[in-house]
Amino acid sequence: MNPFRSGIVASPWESTVVDVNSIHHEVYEQCLQGIQQVRQTQRSAGLLIHGEAGSGKTHLLRRLRTHLTPSAPSDTDREETLYVWVRLQTSPRMIWRTLRRTLVDDWFRPVRGANSQFQRILFHRFAEIRTAEGDLERWYEFMLENDQPGLKELLDQIADALDLDRNTAVAFEHIAFGRHLRDLRAWLSGDSLPEAALARMDLAQDEGTDEEREDQSRQIVLMLCRLAGNGLPVVISFDQVEALQISPGDRDAVFAFGQVTSTLHDSTSNVLVVSCVQSAFNSILHDHARKSDLDRMSSLGAWTLHPLDRSQSRQLIQARLSQLDAAETETIPTSPGWPLSPAEFDALFAKNAFIPPRKLLSLCAERFEIWLKRSKQDSGDDLTQIAEPEKSAMPTAGDESVTSDTMETFFREKWTADFEQKRAASTPERTEEIVRHGLPMLVRLVAPDVKLVSDDLLPDVSLVFETDCGRTGVSLCTQANMNSLSARLKRLKIQQATGRLKRLVVVRDNRVPMSAGAKKTRQLLDELEEQQAVVMHPTVEALAALDALRDLLSDAKSGDLSWHGGTIAPQSLEDWLVANLAEGLQDLVDDVLGRPGNLGGETISDTRDVEALNTLLATRPLLPLDEAVEVLQRPIEVVTAIAERHPDRFRMLSGPPAILYRAEDMQT
């Protein structure tokens, strides 16, 4: 075991392995004082934290999150705090939606077997009004089992007192009674849900234009913060703010971020906004954010994560070594600063009196690795058995590979790991965010002459690319709710008719088929195609590749992509990505921009048939070809041709009987 591995903390939700409290102690204390101030003054506040790449921003957030995790059951007089970590890998026009989804995910997240943060809100609200004394959680369990009407009555009291809107009150009630939690989580996250699911939960869902949906998300976030109440402060920490910038000099991103922090600051009374930004981003923030936003972002001050001095460096090394078991500890040299030699340790501080933690850990990891091999060699062990597990270990997100000999190898391994992870975690609910954030990055890489522009007169067209030949618009139509989809298509028809776009691309997701009864929706899609719109269905692989691409680029921009202790410049990664463009990504760009040779095979009837077959197979995953022909009322040759023409979507077992199925169903 190399205790110096894992120099990067990928998420504050990771469990803490080792922590040196004296490092960044002052800033950490400021965070705690900030929470106390919010609790006491009942006014929201902001803390701005700077740090260079590898200085430990996410590590600090993990310490804070760990501290805020309750170690005992909720009780009437026990102060608690809620926590949200938002990694801003998103489009500047979707910040509120990303914040909403992240907040809901984090509040539903079970922590070390304890209650979710939503349940903690519930307990605190009960604690404010219940008359009984004693253990709060046991009382709640009793009420749930023996007095549900009484519990409902209390919930109504809370809703009235907080002036909750109907939807939030109903959602709160579902949480209290543990009902429909999966759909409820999706609803709270802003996912489009089928009418049946909404009906089951007795909740409504309005899907307006892009701007309206963003505004709805803003309202939901503010409402949820209000639900938590002044007795339960909420820490919302923003990380990777740099990733919001699609391209260098992108002013919209910083402006949008400033607006979000200001809204949270002014429209809530129990939120501490902790914004973590790279030191190199400091001047961009000051140049592009409004002064008033910046003031709110740092209303409790701007703080810096200092690199480590000699003493802190020794403490960190010692803490990491303490992870070794007793037998391992006995074998290692005991000189201070080991595995670095005294001279090497001194050399680190020769030019500058300080060193970033990540750089120190990376160097220690390399030296430890060398020592490990030598000591095994001295003891006569088989070196291949030592080296193999290290080399074969696939780097995971946030784990710096110290075994990658070249940057090329590192990129390849990192890409493979990231891509596999994204493919496994791919869900249609994330498609919109992936495309809206990732596609502009991809287009910038492979078609740098194409500009991303905005057009306020096309509110349902999320992305507009401009070339010398005209404008191409991309609209994400991945709603599972057919009413919402229908409304979107209807508006798109009107917007397409304005002639502001030379080409309109409607992006659908195969995994969200149109329901069998959505005739109106299907008809609208046909009509859009008649207006020269193009319907495309990116494959799961293409979406996973796009997700991996945006993830890696965001990490690079935020200084979180590290190799041998050094931070990899976004340009280096971009060069590699262009030279090693993943399969499907070039096609994706060509399809979107309508470059020659793409989407030629999809005629109007083809799209209609593809949608119909997809809908059918979504309900009957393994369907004999004959039955498909009968249901679709199309000749067998046509259905067979559709399956053969779209092997990325449909597969067919030759039989007999021939069986049809969806490609993604097999993958899942």
């Binding site: 690199p307 340790f345 001194d346 500058n352 009196a353």
Partner: protein, 437 residues
């Protein structure tokens, strides 16, 4: 035999010939001489030519010079002006001042009397065209030169004084001067006294009662400082009492000032009492640690021997000793101790510019560690780039602030990069934050 041709009378055309004769003459001529100079075809007497010459004088074509009791002479040039030019040229071309007689001797014909030359020179001195220098002898004649000998002397004295490593007397300095005219001790003394009065040089008291006054570019305190450092360097670290004895002629107050000044500059280091000595010593370098640690070393050797005898593992001993030394304040790094840097020129720049103060002005939160952009600080202090960069790096080396790198500065434009701080080895820093003290 040739027939005798009669001479022609003085015609009007002959006037031109007369003027030509005057113009070709190197000096004023008598009317008789001019009549003789006319062409032999003319039969002209002195009486005939004189009215014509007088007429030419009246029209301004000729000048008439009445010299003593003799007959007047005639010339077409201004003899006074010519003499004046010749006199001034003579003293300008001379390598040293000249008397009027010496000048007269150097002038080409027409010869000018010394008295006339003297009058011309006096007028030139009054018109600041040359300088007069009285003779060293009471009866001697003054000499004249186009350069101010006193100013030359003053410059020479100052130059020699600046080059002098030690105090000097006027006589010593006079011997070192390189001037066109040798300056006497009195001349040099006069110049030195003037310079002292102007504050350019300092007067240093004579070393003995009969000694002559000395002069130097530094004052008495500096002389004392140098003498003290030289004494210590020669004789080794000394107690204050010994130094007072060794530095004769310096009063108590001045002695104390000298000691304080040297201590402030770090040129004098106090050595803790060693062994049985009770007084601290003063040296010019830190004391050698060896004699001070000798006793501890002997004790350590003894205890290590005992512990080894008790089978304490070597690793544990090493760890304990390292810990002991670390706790005693000994860093095992070479770069940790940056106190030696505080006297460096860059440190001085950092102190002068007060970068820390500027950081606090730009960012009110800087005191508690808020980041200050390199660009903003650079614009605030307006130092040349290299000077600013060095000053910032110096403060970082001293541990007073931490620098924050820009990890991919190559993606920036040259202009943007220039606003960052660079160490010259390819590392760029985007900002800095004060470290808590």
């Amino acid at each position: 035999m040739a027939k005798k041709v009669p001479l022609l009378p003085l015609s009007s055309e002959a006037r031109e010939s007369l003027l030509q004769a005057v113009g070709s003459s190197r000096e004023p001529q008598l009317a008789k001489s001019l009549a003789a100079l006319l062409a032999p075809t003319h039969s002209v007497t002195e009486a005939q030519v004189t009215p014509v010459l007088e007429e030419l004088v009246a029209t301004g074509d000729l000048q008439k010079y009445a010299l003593g009791k003799g007959k007047p002479k005639y010339w077409d040039r201004d003899l006074q002006e010519l003499t004046r030019d010749a006199v001034l040229r003579a003293i300008k071309e001379s390598a040293a001042p000249l008397t009027a007689k010496e000048v007269a001797a150097k002038i080409a014909p027409p010869k000018v009397a010394a008295a006339n030359v003297s009058a011309i020179l006096d007028a030139a001195v009054a018109g600041q065209l040359c300088f007069a220098f009285p003779s060293a002898k009471a009866t001697g004649k003054p000499s004249f030169w186009h350069q101010d000998l006193r100013e030359i002397g003053r410059q020479a004295v100052l130059k020699a004084a600046q080059q002098a490593g030690d105090p000097f007397t006027a006589n010593e300095l006079a011997g070192r001067l390189q001037t066109p005219v040798k300056l006497s001790e009195t001349d040099v003394t006069g110049i030195l006294e003037e310079t002292v009065a102007a504050g350019t040089l300092h007067a240093i008291p004579a070393t003995t009662a009969k000694g002559k006054p000395r002069y130097w570019t530094h004052g008495v305190l500096e002389l004392g400082c140098r003498a003290m450092v030289a004494t210590i360097n020669t004789k080794g670290p000394q107690t204050l009492t010994n130094l007072k004895k060794l530095l004769k002629g310096i009063g108590d107050a001045q002695f104390q000032q000298i000691v304080d000044r040297l201590r402030e500059k770090g040129s004098l280091v106090a050595h803790p009492p060693l062994g049985t000595a009770k007084q601290e010593m003063l040296g010019t370098r830190p004391p050698s640690a060896v004699p001070y640690l000798q006793e501890v070393g002997l004790q350590l050797k003894r205890i290590v021997g005992l512990l080894k005898g008790a089978h304490v593992p070597s690793d544990e001993l090493r760890r304990a000793v390292v810990q002991l030394l670390t706790e005693a304040g000994i860093s095992f790094g070479t770069s940790g101790d940056t106190s030696h840097l505080t006297g460096s020129p860059t440190a001085a720049v950092a102190e002068t510019v007060d970068l820390v103060g500027a950081m606090k002005r730009i960012e009110p939160g800087a005191e508690r560690g808020a980041l200050v952009g390199a660009r903003e600080l650079r614009r605030a202090v307006r130092l040349p780039k290299s000077e600013f960069d060095h000053a910032v790096l110096e403060l970082a080396r001293q541990g007073r602030l931490s620098l924050h790198r820009h990890d991919y500065a190559t993606s920036l434009t040259q202009e943007e990069r220039d606003e960052l701080v660079t160490d010259g080895d390819g590392t760029f820093y985007v900002g800095m934050a004060l470290r808590p003290r």
